[in-house]
């Protein structure tokens, strides 16, 4: 019995090792884990400044993956729900970072000037827009869709990752009556409670990734 168990463990170990090698890119992609320190990053913002996660220590940070041409993103901006959310969060003292990971030549790629123009024309209110054209930040967090939301609490721990709300559809009508996972998580964090739905399935367009260089 014992020998049998040992052999099983050994085989399982081998399988695990083999799997880790085979799935290394996939694993690296989903390194962001609820309850673990949020992956550190460094990126240039729309104004050309280098921003790091560490500079926001002690504050709650929200990451929003975005692509202004994606129908799902447009749904949230055209209805002004995204801008309202950004302003409400700013009022709470929360840092909102919009992340654009589309590489040059792909839909959604913008330079700093265009990013700022979009913010102005849409009356959006992010604290900063991070430009991630080689998709490094996206890989670190395993972002799959636009929008894809992450909330990092004051201790630098990842508290929420997933969808913006519970209506995974592109139609404008789906906004009505949607439950905002982001608002829910922020309210629970503020009340000192654990986040009840810390991880949901994000929905939207695929994040346009740059090829691994």
């Amino acid at each position: 019995m014992k020998a049998h168990l040992t052999r099983q463990t050994f085989i399982a170990g081998l399988a695990l090792a083999g799997f880790s090698l085979a799935a290394a890119p996939a694993l690296a992609q989903s390194a962001a884990r609820i309850g673990a320190p949020a992956p550190a990053f460094e990126a240039v913002d729309a104004d050309g400044k280098i921003r790091k996660l560490s500079e926001f220590a002690g504050k709650t940070v929200i990451l929003e993956w975005t692509n202004h041409d994606c129908p799902y993103v447009r749904k949230h901006y055209n209805s002004a729900t995204m801008q309202t959310l950004q302003k409400d969060m700013a009022r709470e003292g929360i840092v909102w970072l919009s992340v654009i990971s589309s590489p040059v030549g792909e839909q959604g790629h913008v330079d700093g000037a265009k990013a700022n123009e979009l913010t102005k024309s849409r009356n959006a209110a992010p604290a900063a827009i991070l430009l991630d054209p080689n998709s490094k930040v996206a890989r670190a967090y395993g972002a799959t869709t636009t929008p894809h939301m992450y909330i990092i609490d004051g201790k630098g721990t990842l508290a929420y990752m997933g969808a913006i709300d519970d209506k995974p559809a592109a139609s404008a009508a789906s906004i009505e009556g949607a439950k905002s996972y982001v608002r829910q998580a922020v309210a629970e964090l503020k009340a000192g409670k654990p986040v009840s739905e810390p991880s949901t399935k994000a929905y939207g367009c695929a994040v346009k990734y740059a090829p691994v260089s």
Partner: protein
């Protein structure tokens, strides 16, 4: 022979009519909704529909190269195609029957969807009340997301306008396109998988997958189960295929099972199966968040039980319980109860009520115990179904003995309880309290083989639900079952309708002995099927021993020392007989009986379908009265045999008299927990079976055979 001829004439007349009447036979495909990426139409397998029929339509998406639309679970991003139906004439539409998806990499992500041209079939049910001469309008408001690297949400309303005629007119070209698409749909896997934790990952065990399968890929229906882009590592263990799957970052499991589609290649051919897998309880409990929202998409099962809501299941269960009272296995037991009431008609109302409530208690306790066992065994991964207790030959024999003893008692061969005073005094007074309770117990135990109509779906639902929901369905069943007796005991008016005790009662009581003996004979026959000649010998020895024991106890009653000795002998004889029964009543391996039927296996169905033969599968058991009745009144009739021969139907029998986990899986796949179940598979690879009702008529079987054989035209008002 004259009858089919008139039918033929009718059909031809209709055809002529169809050609003459402008606009009657032109509507097999709707106008297209077109974008540079997708051309969508609605395709109908009918030029005209008949009232009461079910037929197939399909949403056709012709997708430009490089673009794709999405499956029920779109994978890492995207959105499945959805259809909102508006149908005239009270018609209803089923769910989309999803083809097997492709994994479409969008580095480093993976989507599940379709490229090229895809047909999404949907079944439309025309109600029998549909008005002939008017039109059936099908309006499909469809939305889909089409992506290359960028995504465009598209939508369109597709309309078909079909005449309602006395007989359906098949649109041959459209029909064959849709049937080809349906033949390529994932076929139900002949097995049930298991999903367990394996460290951080998941291990999906798939027993019964061919060893030669390569390029295996698992597509779960839930989008919160696996990391869609991660590699799926396949290994074999104990003859089963095990797939290691990385967990989704939003890992969540709703309920005790998961479902999805498997694709693989075997001998150069692509194959696809729908599968369900039981989730290891620890894993289901470990799902990250509480109160998962119910999955909005699932593979449409063509089963009665699959889409039941809780309320419908409760209602079906209640109705099923009521009807169960009329089944041949229960009737004798209810005779006894009715007899008891007849005798109690003179007694106080309170006493009668007490009797009714005790009967109710007996029924409830037994039902709950059996249900708890079924659910607990199910949770442990043992596949049992309703009526499983009758799969044990010693139990069947014990029941036969009980039936015989009740019969002997009714005939007055011996009395249970006190010194025999008045007629049936024992049953009514001292036997009273315990007797009433035990009658309830006995009624349930003998009732279980009769899975009455309505109950199949309800029980199928119950065993697939969380335990508490499952138990509540069984509770509803028990309440329905006990209702007539309880109502009788609570309604003095009803009781007064029963005639006064007298000599007639003695005669009636004796007459009731014979249904009991009949039941005993039937049970011994069941034992003979289960355990062969050894089973019959064991059963008869048990009956003999039981008779001897009650006689011995009766004779020596009242004499002090003799009584001790005789009790000792009685115990010895009973134990000896019991031992003999357990020893000799060993189940035999089930084998096909009757010359023109063959034994069922999922592989056999697939192979026969591939040969283009329609296949009829009869899931039955010797202890299932409904099954035997159907075989007698429908399946063994000459007209059915003729039709089967003419249409080259292969008749397969899945005999569940003894335990057989493959049959239990197959039943579960159709949302059932017990027999009977009748499936008619069309000829042609992968065709989905039609489920026939639980009570058959020869006509019903013949027309199902015609449908399965592709002889489509179905006359109305049959």
């Amino acid at each position: 022979m004259a009858y089919p001829l008139t039918r033929q004439l009718w059909r031809q007349a209709l055809l002529v009519l169809a050609l003459l009447a402008p606009g009657l036979a032109q509507a097999a495909e709707s106008a297209a909704v077109t974008s540079p990426r997708v051309t969508a139409t609605l395709l109908s397998s009918r030029d005209a529909v008949a009232p009461g029929e079910r037929f197939q339509v399909a949403l056709v998406q012709k997708i430009a190269p490089g673009w794709h639309t999405y499956w029920a679970n779109p994978g890492d991003s995207g959105e499945p195609t959805r259809i909102a139906w508006t149908l005239s004439q009270g018609a209803t539409a089923g769910e989309i029957q999803w083809p097997a998806p492709k994994a479409i990499p969008v580095e480093p992500l993976v989507n599940f969807g379709f490229e090229g041209t895809v047909l999404l079939p949907v079944e439309i049910a025309v109600p029998p009340e549909a008005k002939i001469g008017e039109r059936l309008t099908l309006q499909a408001a469809a939305t889909w997301l089409v992506c290359e690297k960028i995504c465009i949400p598209e939508e369109g309303t597709l309309t078909l306008d079909l005449p309602v005629a006395p007989a359906a007119i098949v649109a041959e070209a459209a029909q064959s396109r849709i049937e080809a698409a349906r033949a390529a749909l994932p076929a139900p896997a002949g097995f049930r998988g298991r999903l367990a934790a394996e460290g951080e990952a998941l291990a999906l065990t798939l027993p019964g997958l061919p060893a030669a399968a390569t390029e295996l890929r698992v597509f779960p229906l839930s989008d919160t189960l696996i990391d869609h882009a991660a590699a799926q590592e396949v290994r074999t263990s104990d003859g089963a295929t095990v797939v290691r799957l990385a967990r989704s970052s939003a890992f969540k499991i709703a309920g005790g099972e998961i479902a999805g589609v498997l694709t693989y290649r075997e001998g150069g051919l692509s194959r696809a199966l729908t599968f369900a897998a039981d989730v290891e309880p620890a894993l289901a409990g470990a799902a990250s968040a509480p109160a998962a929202p119910p999955a909005t998409v699932r593979i449409p099962l063509p089963a009665e039980g699959a889409d039941l809501t809780l309320w419908a299941a409760l209602l079906f269960a209640f109705a099923g319980g009521l009807i169960l009272n009329l089944m041949p296995c229960v009737l004798p037991v209810l005779f006894i109860k009715a007899l008891g009431f007849a005798q109690l008609a003179q007694a106080s109302r309170a006493q009668v009520r007490e009797q009714g409530l005790l009967f109710l208690a007996g029924v409830l306790v037994t039902f709950m115990a059996l249900a708890a066992m079924v659910i607990a065994l199910g949770a442990l991964g043992t596949s049992v179904g309703w009526g499983f207790q009758l799969q044990s030959p010693p139990l069947v024999i014990a029941l036969a003995v009980v039936m015989t003893l009740i019969g002997l008692n009714l005939l007055g061969a011996f009395e249970i309880g006190t010194s025999a005073a008045g007629v049936g005094h024992g049953l009514a007074s001292r036997g009273g309290r315990l007797g009433a309770f035990m009658t309830g117990v006995l009624a349930v135990v003998v009732a279980t083989p009769c899975t009455a109509p309505f109950m199949g779906a309800a029980i199928g639902y119950a065993v697939t639900q969380p335990p508490l929901l499952g138990l509540s369905v069984f509770l509803s069943l028990a309440l329905g079952f006990a209702l007539p007796v309880v109502a009788l005991s609570f309604a003095p008016g009803l009781l007064r309708l029963l005639p006064k005790p007298g000599r007639w009662m003695l005669i009636l009581k004796q007459a009731f002995a014979f249904p009991m003996f009949a039941t005993a004979i039937w049970l011994i026959w069941v034992a003979s099927v289960q355990a062969g000649p050894g089973g019959v010998l064991a059963a008869l020895v048990a009956v003999l021993a039981a008779g001897f024991v009650v006689w011995l106890v009766g004779v020596t009653r009242g004499s002090g020392r003799g009584r001790l000795a005789s009790s000792l002998v009685a115990v010895l004889v009973a134990c000896g007989a019991g031992w003999f029964v357990v020893q000799s009543a060993v189940p035999e391996v089930a084998q096909a009986r009757a010359g023109d039927t063959q034994a069922w296996s999922p592989e056999r169905v697939v192979a026969l379908q591939a040969e283009g033969r329609p296949v009829f599968v009869n899931f039955t058991a010797a202890w299932c009265i409904t099954c035997l009745a159907n075989e007698r009144v429908a399946l063994s009739r000459q007209e059915v045999k003729d039709a089967f021969a003419e249409l080259k139907v292969v008749y397969l029998k899945a005999d569940w008299t003894n335990r057989d986990s493959r049959i239990a899986f197959a039943l579960a796949e159709q949302g059932r927990a017990g027999v009977p179940l009748y499936l008619f598979y069309p000829g042609g690879k992968g065709g989905q079976p039609e489920i026939l009702p639980q009570l058959l008529t020869p006509d019903m079987v013949v027309s199902a055979a015609r449908r399965a054989a592709g002889k489509e035209v179905r006359t109305a008002g049959r």
